[in-house]
Amino acid sequence: MREKKDPRATYGEALLAVAEKNDRVLAISADSSSGSGMTPFRNRFPGRHIEFGIMEQGILGFASGLATVGWIPFVAAIAPFVTARPFEMFRNDLGYMKQNVKIVGRNAGLTYSDLGATHQSLDDVAILRTIPGLVVVCPGDPVEIRLAVEAAAAHEGPLYLRIGAPPIPVLHAPDVPFQLGKGITVMDGSDVTIISTGTALWRAFDACVMLHKKGISARLVSMHTLKPLDRDLVCDAARGTGAIVTVEEHYLIGGLGSAVAEVIACEPCPAARLAMIGVGDQFASNGPYDELLGLYGLRAEQIVQKVEAFLRSPAEDALAARASKGSR
């Protein structure tokens, strides 16, 4: 069995470790501290843990003000309540003011599966990607979460960190090279590239393993930073495999798939075919997490089927697409 860890606990441990070294780091709670793994921080640094209660609009403004005076606030709460709800505060008080504030959206994607669409977060990346200068990070395993928290504290400026809730397996070595804005090639391959991110990464990983067993050489990229996007790595995938499948626990509108499409649709990126796996234009349903993922094709075996079908789809179409792009 692979080692699995709770992403919220992992975040909390990483934040505590960062705070031990940097006395400007604050933990900010909207009645959300214990659910965000910040109890160890509160116990260790009670004076640097600030509780606000359930006021997610005001809390972003307070974080902005705290940053103005030199503090580095980490605000962690349920993802939709610190993204969609206070979007204008995010945009103006953090983005427009270029404040050194880190917002952590937990239970992102479908991970609040049983609580329904009010608590799921399938649009956070889409709306936040529009904020100039914001860094959007979706770490995909416990190692990436720890390294992302370290990178977030070191980065000067606003940053959004998106994590889930159910335990996720460790995929990387503890010292995997990690840099904001640079994706990680987890597995090499030449037939197709699967680009995945965040909560969806480990199922994409399992799908790649299965594809290799079936004789399909699938490359796997962990695109942990969705903004700024690693355009070079996307173009490398286009050049090297000619086919890309994106896998994300997010709406197809505006998320990882859209971001990748924005790159490969434009010169000078080489032509490539693209398929996207994610949630379509609907409010998602509710139920057990794994079964809910199954409704939207996000389980590993479904990813395998989708990739196989994609690679089998008419070659003429693909050739025509390449020819028309190549002739420009």
Binding site: T68, M89, K98
Partner: protein
């Protein structure tokens, strides 16, 4: 009566008059602007910048400075005038108001001009930001104060009341709000659009210490500001009754001058009202 000397009163009256003149110059340069609210809060802003705030124009980011957050960011012409007259930047820059890429946009931007402490404009943001600054100063052991200017129409924004509750819960007695209660907003009288009365009781119910003053009386403004915190451990709010478009005879107390786009002879009437030289526009160019 307070101990405000006649010299200081005269100095503030001159500074405020100059600010109003500069606001008219900005409206002339830009072809329009949110003059109504800028003119109603002018005496408050003048009192703060010329008698109260510990700021250093030569070192605008001095960590120990007092801060002023203009939550009602559309009143920015008052802020720009005060900052220029206080020496944060050259007054000639005021003439760029409304031009392409001007450093003085219709709502203030901190990266564009020294002395601006927050990018306001969307209402209901300033109090939270100011609360965070006040909290951050206390955490660092600094004694500076944070002043906020809010509009009365702005009080309808729910986010303000999140901030008000948090400020009292966290005992931010270094936070001082001036409500520029000019009684008017775009659609009419503030009480009629969305009634905020009883305004002082609303704040005190949220744990603030409140005082009501005449927002055009320098003695009352200065006395209130200097006596903050009104109660130790509580944030303070000064509800300042003002007149919208104060100083312009044809516009005072009239809702249609919320955003003033001068018609016909209005600019010259404004110049006469404020004792500006007849050739002011030529002289300035």
């Amino acid at each position: 009566m307070t101990g405000l000397s006649s010299d200081e009163t005269a100095r503030l009256r001159d500074a405020a008059l100059q600010m109003r003149q500069n606001i008219v110059r900005m409206v002339r340069a830009g072809g329009g602007g949110h003059a109504g609210g800028a003119l109603s809060c002018t005496d408050i802003v003048a009192s703060l910048y010329f008698s109260v705030l510990r700021v250093d124009p030569a070192n605008p980011l001095w960590p120990g400075r007092d801060r002023l957050i203009l939550s009602a960011g559309h009143k920015c012409m008052a802020l720009y005038a005060a900052l220029a007259q206080r020496g944060f930047f050259d007054e000639k820059l005021l003439e760029t108001y409304g031009s392409l890429n001007s450093r003085l946009p219709g709502h203030p931007v901190m990266s564009k001009i020294p002395g601006v402490e927050a990018n306001t404009g969307a209402l209901g943001h300033g109090l939270s930001i100011a609360g965070g600054i006040a909290m951050g100063l206390k955490l660092r052991g600094l004694t500076a104060k944070v002043y906020v200017i809010m509009g009365d129409g702005e009080l309808a924004e729910g986010s303000n009341w999140e901030a008000a509750a948090a400020a009292s819960h966290h005992t931010l007695d270094n936070l001082v709000v001036f409500v520029d209660r000019n009684g008017l907003q775009i659609s009419g009288e503030t009480r009629g659009v969305m009634n905020y009365e009883p305004i002082a009781q609303r704040w005190t119910a949220f744990g603030w210490s409140a005082r009501q003053i005449d927002g055009h009386d320098f003695s009352q403004i200065i006395e209130a500001a200097r006596q903050t915190p009104f109660e130790t451990g509580k944030p303070s709010v000064v509800i300042a009754t003002t007149i919208k478009s104060k100083g312009l005879s044809f516009a005072e107390g009239r809702m249609e001058y919320h955003y003033w786009k001068p018609k016909a002879d209005e600019l010259s009437r404004a110049e006469r009202d404020l004792g500006m030289a007849a050739d002011d526009s030529k002289r300035r160019k």
